[in-house]
Symmetry: C2
Subunit: 224 residues, 2 copies
DNA sequence: ACAAAAAGCGAGTGATCACTCACTTTTACT
DNA sequence: AGTAAAAGTGAGTGATCACTCGCTTTTTGT
């Protein structure tokens, strides 16, 4: 599992801006600067004067190309989300899901949980900022759902239905199974990072993952 | 299950401010106004001039009593959280958990999920603002965890351990079971309200709850 | 009753913000 | 080369913000 950072992906994308479109160099600089600052400190915390400074451009130039600050955000978020964030978030998931039929579902889940825990740990700041922005701006939330959630849902759907067909999973509504999987994963991250890091530490990450997967697969009820 | 709104609780608390402490009437008005505005629009969106206006007080008076705007927040949040929000959030949970030994765990969970779904639906705005503030201010997040999460965790611990003792639940680490329960609940709410409301609507709330409880109890794996 | 302290006041301060506009420079087209 | 359009500029605008300060009013203790 390779580990190119989100930052690298961003920088690379920013360089690629050079080749395409009929943008002025200055306009590209504005986008570059905005991407950098928004990713670093979020939208609200980045002022237009900062963006201008970072871009080496007069503040008036910004508003020559974008009619408002929010306009920059929208111009920046869609392509970045689609070309950098979504691929970055989904890359490993796609690999893990690829060999669906070979591995037992339990193993796929274990790998997935381990991988997601790593991803969130390594990119805590960016995750935080993304959630924050998704919280505030409907457009970003919807774009995130459309570009990331929709994909992962489709991938999961295929895997889950295949596993139901071979009798490895119960024939429940796919949507409910997907929800259970994602909920369990979100809960794992949430408990470790936010809600209860102390008690979480009573077991190693591997043990916690094993517990989560065990419960996801077999439930918490005792079978008489 | 009674339904006093969060708003009512807030207003009642605000009235009770009258009786206690050595506060000036104006100072109480400032707290009242702050509580109202913060609950309505959040901390950042409420300006000190607004608070002053709402409180019927000069802006200078605010800073006579509180050395900064954040100071008001901290003075307001701890007691409100402890005396209004936490009881409000936990009230029904406590009732549902009360008759622990009588009802099967499945039934308790079903009631709990149903109740939480109702609570979030009926108080969407306040939930949103609380999460938003918890996101931004470490102090609030920690206060929420200490006053709400800690309580619910303790209540759940007792119930879970009792149910493990009578053989209704598997002898897993309590903490992992609690995480599974809470994750499933958060997931239910998250999918319905944010992530996938369309597909969620394919089943009724009751059906979705039943599915979540079923999976929580029995897992998603097929038992050969 | 009187003075000191506390409470209250509101115009004012300086900072920052997104955004504008009159103007200059560069680019593109003929 | 000449010109019109596009790009770029930066001082300026008005709004808003949290917060201050010199002053007046009210409360308190004796």
């Amino acid at each position: 599992m390779s580990k190119p950072s989100f930052e690298e992906g961003l920088l690379q994308y920013v360089e690629e801006l050079k080749d395409e479109s009929e943008m002025t160099e200055k306009q590209r600089n504005i986008l570059r600067a905005s991407i950098k600052l928004f990713a670093e400190k979020g939208f609200h915390a980045s002022s237009t004067s900062e963006i201008a400074k970072e871009a080496g451009v007069a503040e008036g130039t910004i508003f020559r190309h974008y009619k408002s600050k929010k306009d920059i955000l929208l111009a920046v978020v869609a392509p970045v989300l689609l070309k950098v964030a979504a691929p970055f978030i989904l890359k490993d998931v796609r690999e893990i899901f690829k060999e669906e039929s070979k591995k037992p579902f339990t193993e796929v889940m274990t790998q997935l949980y381990r991988n997601r825990l790593e991803l969130v740990t390594a990119n805590e700041k960016h995750v935080r900022i993304m959630l924050q922005e998704a919280f505030f701006h409907d457009e970003i939330r919807e774009a995130l759902i459309a570009s990331v959630f929709a994909d992962v849902k489709e991938m999961a759907r295929k895997l889950i239905e295949a596993k139901v067909d071979v009798g490895e999973l119960r024939p429940l509504p796919t949507q409910a199974v997907f929800r259970a999987v994602l909920s369990s994963m979100i809960g794992l991250v949430l408990f470790r990072q936010v809600l209860d890091p102390d008690e979480f530490g009573n077991y190693s990450d591997e043990e916690q993952i094993a517990l989560s997967v065990d419960i996801l697969m077999n439930g918490i009820a005792n079978r008489e």
